[in-house]
């Protein structure tokens, strides 16, 4: 039972017909998931997408929603990702702090310039990604760490996808816990362009399945079951990264389950059969800029864990549903 596709005829006709015009490359029209025009670089943008924002926009409404017995996915998973710090994540903060203070052979460490335990860096993670004048590019946390480690400390092995870099980013983000995210995408400039490119990538349909990130992270998919999990809408999610993502581990990955934003994007690309970007590369940085700017106005909450491991939320909903 062979599929009869008249390929030979189709190929011959078209290639012969258009040979002379192959000089100019036709402008390729990509498939985009609907919703690109409704996006704004602020967490309240979620109102255009899912009607959950009113439940998790601040502490008070979240407490009210929690006591009303709403399920986690109805609160974009902010109930435990905001109100409960992750015990597992805290176990790894110590290692991140240690890395920050460990000196290289010349006695130089991150602390030598940024103050013991990174005092001066408190709050900076909430304003990443930023445009780096010297490097003439937009940099996210892990990339800035790689460049600093390479140039200032001569450490060549602290690249984006390594354990030291990830745990350092995790530690630095925890220094900004509670800070309001403020990625400067309003003034025209490289960060705003990166935001717009990232938005287009987020909505572009790619890969073997021809999915876009938005296929699952915008309603009606978000909130519904994708096997055992329910995707969230992307607004405000960047405020919890780097996140403790047990039990997921990418192959050959011993990062004790800490996922930076781009590590999470890579993991999702792998799971959705899309070509995996390289962490720190331009497209991945643009997607991270888009996601972090979509969390503007929301406080960072690190360390938290990806899965809701305490079962009180189930008790709440059982009590409410049995009333």
């Amino acid at each position: 039972m062979k599929t009869k596709i008249p390929k030979a005829a189709l190929v011959a006709a078209l290639v012969a017909g258009i040979c002379p015009v192959t000089v100019f490359a036709a402008e390729v029209r990509h498939d985009f998931w609907p919703g690109r025009d409704k996006v704004i670089p602020h967490v309240s943008g979620d109102e255009q997408f899912s009607n959950t924002y009113r439940y998790w926009k601040d502490e008070m409404s979240l407490d009210a929603a929690v006591t009303a017995g709403l399920m986690s996915h109805e609160m974009n998973y902010k109930d435990f990702r905001w109100r409960e710090k992750s015990l597992e994540g805290e176990m790894l903060l110590g290692e991140g702090q240690e890395l920050f203070n460990t000196a290289n052979e010349q006695g130089q460490s991150c602390a030598s310039c940024h103050g013991a335990d990174g005092k001066e860096l408190e709050g900076t993670y909430a304003r990443m990604p930023k445009y780096n004048e010297r490097l003439k590019r937009v940099v996210v946390g892990p990339t800035q760490i790689r460049i600093c480690a390479e140039e200032r400390l001569g450490r060549k092995d602290w690249g984006e996808d390594t354990r030291p870099n990830t745990l350092l980013a995790f530690y630095l983000a925890s220094l900004s816990d509670g800070e309001i995210i403020d990625v400067d995408v309003n003034a025209p400039g490289p960060v705003k362009d990166s935001y717009e490119r990232g938005r287009d990538l987020f909505f572009k349909r790619v890969g073997h399945f021809h999915f876009a990130c938005a296929s699952c992270h915008t309603p009606p998919s978000s909130g519904n079951y994708l096997r055992g999990q329910r995707p969230t809408t992307f607004f405000g999610d960047a405020a919890q990264y780097p996140i403790y993502h047990f039990p997921y581990q990418l192959a050959g990955d011993n990062l004790s389950y800490i996922f930076t934003m781009q590590h999470q994007i890579r993991s999702c690309q792998q799971l959705s059969r899309m070509y995996q970007g390289r962490e720190g590369s331009a497209p991945m940085t643009d997607i991270e800029t888009f996601l972090r700017a979509s969390a503007n106005g929301y406080p960072i909450s690190v360390p938290v864990s990806e899965y809701n491991m305490n079962t009180d939320y189930l008790e709440r909903s059982q009590q409410v549903s049995s009333q």
């Binding site: 015990l87 597992e88 805290e90 176990m91 039990p247």
Partner: protein, 103 residues
Amino acid sequence: MSTTIKVRAMVSADIATVKAIINHPMTVERLDKATGKVVPAHFIEEVVFSHNGEELLVASCGQAISKNPYFSFKFSGARSGDTLGVIWRDNQGKQDRDEFQIR
């Protein structure tokens, strides 16, 4: 201060709630495809929690307990400042112990 045990213990209205995490691979017995040999299971067999030295809970574990095992329990008659002792032992003779303040 051990680095394998992390505890969060809080008292409210005379009931103390303890949440504990132990850093351990908890691997099940599996066949290593590369070498074809069976890799034996490596998991925590027993965790003992004590309050001011008095034994509270003895948890015996099998291979079905998740990696970095988590235990939680509640008990009465505790005051903030008491000490909570944790000892664990696995099936390969490794063990660790530590004490924590109940907040």
